[in-house]
């Protein structure tokens, strides 16, 4: 009863503070727009950039429509292969968000699960999980992601690698992000597990799994949510970076990072739009996620208020 009441209070505060923070509202609106744009890309986008028949090499390197030599068919211009840039960006954002969300979900489930178990059972399990976390922490996220990708390249045959690339990418990014979830979940579980409601549940003879999932988890969700939001920005950034380095998404399905890499080849020859627009889309997306993360952190961390 008490926890339920506390949760409603926090939620109301969340809504109250949200209504008083115009910056966060703008960020949320942009975030929502990009999610919608990504979700309905096949419906909104003028062309399908994955469909080889839908673009023509003759249309390549067309500048945005408002510039001289621009073509009204391609509002923000075309890339080196004549693909409509706007469509590519919409499809690319779709891929970036998909990989970002699924890798954060992967990291959250793995990290929270391990952290809960470590904090609840303590002892040897705790030591093992935290030692693994130590090892993981001694490797920077980008390195982990690159290594996992490299290993997958070595193990999987070439044909399968392209098909599984998105899964590999999700695992690679997810593995580099789980430690934060695990550490936070473990620390909060330590605090919660000695409280009376957990003891009551133990005396009632509930299964430890049930206690962790139903009793403890809802009470430690706050800080995990903050990490989730912040990590979403990190995941999108990592995906873009990997794709930019040419080890990320399949080449025939460009994400924002791939588009930027293609664009950099042409900045010296003056085709600036190929690199500028995908970069802008990526930055706007990450900034809005980061602003929301900052907001969550400020609301859920009483010390900052």
């Amino acid at each position: 009863m008490l926890t339920w009441w506390r949760r409603v209070r926090i939620e109301n505060e969340l809504i109250y503070l949200f209504l008083r923070s115009p910056v966060t509202q703008v960020a949320a609106a942009i975030g929502l727009l990009s999610v919608l744009g990504a979700l309905f890309a096949p419906l909104i986008a003028p062309t399908n950039p994955y469909d080889l028949a839908s673009f023509d090499l003759l249309d390549s390197f067309l500048p945005p429509a408002w510039v001289e030599d621009g073509d009204p068919r391609f509002f923000i211009g075309t890339d080196d292969q004549g693909r409509d840039l706007l469509s590519s960006i919409l499809y690319g954002a779709r891929l970036s968000l998909l990989v970002g969300l699924s890798s954060v979900a992967f990291a959250a489930v793995l990290g929270t699960g391990l952290g809960l178990a470590a904090g609840y059972f303590g002892g040897r399990l705790d030591t093992i999980v935290m030692r693994i976390a130590d090892v993981q922490l001694s490797l920077p996220a980008i390195l982990t992601a690159l290594l996992v990708d490299g290993v997958a390249r070595g193990i999987l045959p070439r044909e399968q690698h392209d098909e599984l690339l998105l899964v590999v990418l999700t695992v690679a990014i997810g593995l580099s992000l789980w430690v934060n979830f695990a550490r936070t979940a473990r620390a909060s579980t330590f605090v919660e597990r000695n409280k009376e409601y957990v003891q009551a549940a133990e005396i009632m003879g509930l299964h430890p799994l049930r206690i962790m999932a139903v009793a403890i988890l809802p009470n430690i969700l706050g800080p995990l949510m903050v990490i989730g939001t912040v990590d979403l920005a990190v995941a999108i950034l990592l995906e873009a970076t990997l794709s930019f380095l040419g080890v990320g998404v399949p080449p025939n399905q460009p994400s924002l990072g791939t588009l930027i890499r293609i664009g950099t080849e042409y900045i010296f020859s003056g085709e600036w739009w190929i690199v500028i627009f995908p970069s802008a889309a990526l930055i706007v997306m990450i900034v809005s996620v980061n602003i929301m993360g900052d907001f969550f952190r400020a609301v859920l961390n009483p010390r900052l208020r």
Binding site: S138, L139, I142, A240, I267, L282, I291, D294
Partner: protein, 325 residues
């Protein structure tokens, strides 16, 4: 003190053992080393002989021990791609990365710490807010986009600075340095800024939050109540007490800079270790990958160890807590 250092040392060795195990597994079980080394027309018997020669038929434990022994004695094996000794390859590339990382770190600290202090002390000022918004954007712009933007403005449009490679280097023994020629220094500017921006925002945010925390403590409030002038309170009492975590940042950032230089080196075609690692991933050059993994982990572990010991020396609270337990 001694027992604390010993405990941390044992922990570090454990981490390194785990990483080396990982590197060994990578080297041994990802792909078949023999198949990579020989051509397609080599007979099965020859392959088997090579396998026996390399000791790949020994028990796995024995192989791991040998792998570990080789690592410790500095024998890193040969690259699949270039057939050169890996130790030599990495040593050739190291100066470029270290110099780039050093300058980037310098930029990040020289700008980040003062900016952090300023924003903490002038909480709602216009300039402080402007700095904060800038850093939020700075943290959100991917490193490679910053690099491309700098190349476009200063390389393509203005034509002021070189945009790829190291420029002129001077050799001092085996160490090739950028610092001694004008061309080398000019080539350093754009990559170092690119690499430093992200670290700069991190530094600033950490210094700011630490300083704010200290400003809220009782002893600062008391100092202000006593009528000590703000300058002394801010720069003598508050600053000194918020500098402890900065040691951590400096340490961790050096590791971060080395790791993130992978991206910057790729944008500017800077011939450092990061570019080498990237090439080895593209060509599935497993031995180089596993050595690089061990090397980066070693850098991180050593830095962490130094930071922890420094903490222990500088912060009496940490010392007391460790002694109590």
């Amino acid at each position: 003190m001694f027992s604390f250092i010993l405990k941390r040392l044992v922990q570090s060795i454990f981490v390194m053992l785990a990483v080396s195990l990982l590197a060994f597994a990578l080297f041994r079980f990802v792909g078949d080393p023999v198949a990579v080394m020989v051509g397609q027309e080599t007979s099965i018997e020859d392959q088997e002989r090579l396998r026996e020669q390399l000791g790949l038929n020994d028990p796995v434990i024995a192989q791991y021990t040998r792998f570990l022994g080789n690592l410790v004695t500095g024998d890193f094996g040969f690259s699949y791609r270039t057939r050169q000794p890996i130790g030599q390859m990495i040593l050739n590339r190291m100066p470029a990365t270290v110099e780039l990382g050093f300058v980037a770190l310098l930029i990040s600290l020289a700008v980040g710490i003062p900016a952090g202090i300023y924003t903490a002390l002038h909480n709602d000022g216009v300039i402080a807010n402007a700095i904060l918004i800038t850093t939020l954007i700075g943290i959100s712009i991917p490193t490679f986009v910053i690099g491309i933007f700098l190349i476009y403005v200063f390389g393509v449009q203005l034509g002021w600075l070189p945009t790829f490679g190291r420029g002129d280097v001077v050799e001092i023994g085996w160490w090739k340095t950028n610092f001694l020629t004008l061309g080398g220094l000019r080539a350093l500017i754009l990559p170092a800024i690119t690499l430093g921006v992200y670290q700069l925002t991190l530094t600033m945010r950490l210094v700011r939050s630490e300083m704010q925390d200290v400003m809220n403590t009782d002893f600062i409030k008391f100092a202000i109540a006593r009528g000590i002038d703000y300058r002394t309170v801010h720069y003598k009492h508050a600053l000194r007490n918020s500098m402890v975590p900065v040691i951590t940042i400096i340490g961790l950032q050096f590791g971060g800079v080395i790791a993130f230089s992978i991206v910057t080196e790729s944008v500017f075609q800077w011939p450092g270790m990061g570019l080498l690692f990237l090439d080895s991933i593209r060509f599935v050059d497993i031995p180089v990958m596993s050595v690089y993994l061990v090397l980066i982990a070693l850098i991180f572990v050593i830095i962490n160890l130094i930071v922890d010991i420094l903490y222990f020396v500088i912060d009496p609270r940490v010392r007391l807590k460790a002694e109590a337990s």
